[in-house]
């Protein structure tokens, strides 16, 4: 029967499944390998090194990104980054990146903190949660596929949902005047 046939074909496909839709539970799946320690201790601003940046698998996974969004609120990132708009801390939804826009750079910023007020969350926030945060932060400037990036929240809407943001082309900038 035609129906059955189609279902069988789909069954073959499904052996792979659709990673976007899986629910990787922290600890369970392979999170991105932590960037090498050299880069970890590298605080100098400006161009991220040309060397390979490990990709963040969570950037392909809608559930992980939405977890990142939840943690972003929970860990009160809004306190300084005001839902990406920027306040005491720099905005995260624009194209300007002081310490680099690659997942590894953002990971380092969160884990080690940065001068001028960004605290270090190393140890406090487990690794896979950091990677979830990294994925979400990159969605704020439209770096993620729109079918992975979060839709609007059930809250007062701060503006366009991440999934509908224009993709910014990240540019590196020096520290803002205020911070000097």
């Amino acid at each position: 029967m035609k129906t059955l046939l189609c279902l069988c074909c789909a069954a073959l496909l499904s052996l792979s499944g659709c990673y976007r839709e899986q629910r990787p539970l922290p600890g369970a799946p392979a999170t991105a390998s932590t960037p090498d320690p050299l880069r970890m201790t590298n605080l100098q601003p400006g161009e991220p090194k040309a060397q390979a940046n490990p990709a963040n698998p969570y950037e392909e996974n809608a559930y992980a990104v939405s977890q990142g969004k939840r943690l972003f609120k929970q860990y009160n990132c809004n306190g300084c980054h005001a839902s990406g708009g920027g306040d005491a801390g720099p905005p995260l939804m624009d194209d300007k990146w002081i310490y680099g826009h690659e997942p590894a750079n953002i990971y380092a910023s969160i884990v080690q903190g940065r001068p001028n007020g960004m605290p270090s969350f190393g140890g406090h926030v487990p690794e896979d949660q950091v990677w979830q945060l990294v994925a979400y932060i990159r969605s704020m400037s439209g770096q993620l596929r729109s079918d992975v990036a979060p839709a609007r929240s059930d809250s007062l809407s701060p503006g366009k949902a991440e999934q509908r943001r224009e993709r910014e082309t990240p540019a590196s900038v020096a520290l803002p005047q205020s911070a000097k």
């Binding site: 939840r70 929970q74 140890g123 406090h124």
Partner: protein
């Protein structure tokens, strides 16, 4: 295969701990559940009678009716002539069913009125907030100093009315404590009230009844109904801050608590940890269960819960925390002091 779950191995001890408290609508232990149970008995009685009557009528019909096969000529007389006997019997049956329905409807209205009329003097006010997938309970009091918060395990005084304000912090949950009362939804953006009273002391188990996501199945809570004086004693204990008189190991444990992920979500009154995204742990050691009614609260389960929560409650928002053996032992010691 990717869909095979991580194995939540609940030890037999766990099962036992869960077996003790009941969760049963047919064992009312409070006035509200009693009233519903009375209505239940009446309704089931009437329905059984009706069911029996219909079946008897059917069987009689089958036994007395003649037999036939496809060749038997159809009897179309009824198209021409009315059938008064059938008419009378059908009308009688319909009349009887209408009458019984009216009885049931009246009884139901009556029960609703009674449920709304529970005396409320000297009530305990509790604000219960549901989270994915645990329960937060805030005991309100006219004196701000006497307000305290706990999680997943409530104590209430026997014979005193309890007024619960129900809220949700994320999706729709339903508060259900079958031995004491029926359900009430907890709908984000709305608050609702549930009034109940425990008339027999005991520990009763409740569970979220509205599908609320990955761990809907593991969102239970315990309510302990006890004499007023013991309740007051418990409440006083809950109001106390965690003591800071700690052994070296214990204060090392507190250091771990403060430096690792625990502090990001949990509160321990008096320790400086005051995040509100997980259950308040000020008196965690005084509770019977962990992970909202899923695990018995003992040292070994606590260790498993801290280090690999996803194995015990897949989908929970509690992150796995990597700890050295020494850190873990110290942390467990510290948590053990939170009585």
């Amino acid at each position: 295969m990717k869909r095979i779950a991580a194995l939540p191995v609940l030890s037999l001890a766990g099962a036992a701990a869960m077996a003790a408290p009941f969760q049963n609508a047919l064992k009312p232990a409070g006035i509200q559940a009693e009233r519903i149970h009375d209505l239940w008995l009446l309704t089931v009685g009437i329905c059984s009678v009706v069911f029996a009557a219909v079946l008897v009528a059917l069987l009689l019909a089958l036994s007395r009716a003649g037999r036939s096969d496809a060749a038997t000529p159809p009897d179309v007389a009824s198209l021409a002539a009315p059938e008064p006997r059938l008419k009378r019997n059908v009308l009688l049956a319909v009349g009887a069913s209408i009458a019984l329905l009216l009885v049931l409807i009246v009884a139901d209205f009556q029960t609703d009125r009674l449920l709304g009329r529970m005396p409320l003097s000297d009530a305990v006010h509790i604000e219960v907030t549901a989270h994915q997938w645990w329960w937060e309970a805030r005991y309100n009091d006219p004196e701000p100093g006497k307000i305290f918060t706990t999680a997943n395990e409530l104590h209430i005084p026997v014979g005193r009315p309890v007024i619960m304000t129900l809220k949700s912090s994320d999706v729709i949950h339903t508060f259900w404590l079958p031995n004491l009362h029926g359900k009430k939804d907890m709908i984000p953006g709305r608050t609702s009230l549930i009034r109940l009273r425990a008339d027999q002391p005991g520990t009763y188990r409740g569970q979220c009844a509205e599908f609320c996501g990955l761990e809907h199945a593991m969102m239970a809570f315990l309510v302990t109904a006890e004499p007023n004086d013991r309740y007051e004693a418990w409440a006083d204990a809950q109001r106390r801050e965690a003591s800071n008189v700690l052994s070296a190991r214990e204060s090392r444990g507190r250091q771990v608590f403060m430096e690792r992920s625990c502090v990001m979500c949990h509160t321990v009154q008096g320790s400086g940890a005051n995040a509100v995204f997980g259950p308040d742990l000020t008196h965690v050691a005084s509770r019977q269960t962990l992970a909202s009614g899923v695990l018995p609260n003992n040292r070994q389960q606590m260790a498993a819960w801290v280090t690999q929560p996803q194995k015990l409650k897949p989908g929970t928002n509690m992150p796995a925390t990597k700890l050295s053996g020494e850190e873990l032992e110290a942390l467990l010691d510290y948590l053990g002091t939170l009585k």
